[in-house]
Symmetry: C2
Subunit: 225 residues, 2 copies
């Protein structure tokens, strides 16, 4: 409770931390994740040592940015849940994410590596899945989406499109829209016509460290439907 004296120094450090985060987001957006940390530190106006004091490794820095962007995405998804047309809301979310990926090479590039290790990423990821699940449930209820898929299925399809968007999005922007339309076809196809192999996974089961899946949901996290 008595942290009055610390404030001054901490605020300096906190300011540096924020500067590094902003510079990193900027540099990664422009150059991709291979950009050297030296440039980030330079643009943030701090020494390299300060960068590593706040983020023990480059991967941690990337993860921190990813957490921010995932939380923001989850918030946007929750906002879309208010929309009257649930089907349109879901597809608008997919368009939204893919559009951002087109402007920011680094966005989904980061998803590949970091997931497993970082617990903060896990939390943000769960948040995204929960919001997407809500959107999806409403879209199913509205008859806009087939009943036999889950939020993880949708997220993986989206990841695929974003990966393509990162590679070819700058060649022809319409290409991403087209891929998304195809995903839409897959999601709205009648479930009876072509049953899917396997089953939808829970967010937990995507974590490689989790045991082979006991097949029983351990704790029900209900999305307010």
């Amino acid at each position: 409770m008595s942290e009055r004296e610390d404030r001054r120094r901490r605020s300096d450090a906190e300011r540096n931390r924020r500067r590094v985060l902003e510079a990193a987001a900027e540099v990664f957006r422009e150059q991709g994740l291979e950009a050297p940390v030296g440039e980030i530190a330079q643009r943030a106006g701090v020494g390299r040592g300060t960068l590593f004091r706040n983020f023990p490794s480059k991967a941690d820095l990337i993860a921190a940015i990813l957490v921010d962007e995932m939380s923001a995405a989850a918030a946007r998804a929750r906002a879309l849940c208010e929309r009257p047309d649930a089907g349109a809301a879901l597809f608008e979310f997919l368009d939204d994410i893919a559009g951002r990926q087109r402007a920011d090479r680094a966005l989904f590039e980061a998803v590949a590596d970091s997931f497993l290790a970082n617990p903060e990423i896990r939390l943000a990821h769960d948040e995204v899945i929960a919001a997407l699940d809500e959107l999806l449930s409403a879209a199913k209820a509205a008859g806009a989406v087939r009943a036999d898929i889950g939020a993880v299925d949708v997220l993986l399809l989206l990841k695929g499109v974003c990966e393509v968007a990162g590679t070819y999005g700058h060649v022809d922007p319409g290409l991403v829209d087209r891929q998304l339309d195809l995903v839409r076809c897959a999601l709205s196809a009648p479930a009876e016509s072509q049953p899917l192999r396997g089953r939808t996974l829970s967010a937990d089961e995507l974590d490689p460290r989790s045991p082979p899946a006991a097949h029983q949901p351990s704790r029900r996290r209900r999305a307010s439907v």
Copy 2:
């Protein structure tokens, strides 16, 4: 024509080149593309200089492997064209590629970077597109696939699934099958129900260096239908 004397020396060099290629494919398959070239040279039993004599850069080495695998994939696709059930043949090709990606992390990881620059990759890529186009035309004629998509559309969907397979394929193998089933739904959905935005691209238009697309096919390369 008079290359008798050279043969002896060349055969040594050629053997080294092949050893490097084999070692590289092995190492990349096991460790991904970030594996150090030093280990490749060591496993091939040559000095690092020899590796760089045959492949001016690590990217060139990766490209060489990719060309081999793409040519092989194109050959398999052409073989599938003989099948009586054209729809099944197309989807078997998709399963085949995705299955290989699951076993070899590096396979599609390489696609992202190298395409643009390397002309040999362009040739192999065109070969894949041509074979896929043939499979696709037959599947359309058989009524198994909608008429309004092209080979590039299919390839990009496949790339998306393979990207996911590379990241999560080891968590649950069935996940990849499921994603492929969803792609299948997208491909076999009736074209009338949900028209796609944009238009399908030609292989040339995927090349970022090619001009903004004159919209007129410069040279008709007919696939023997």
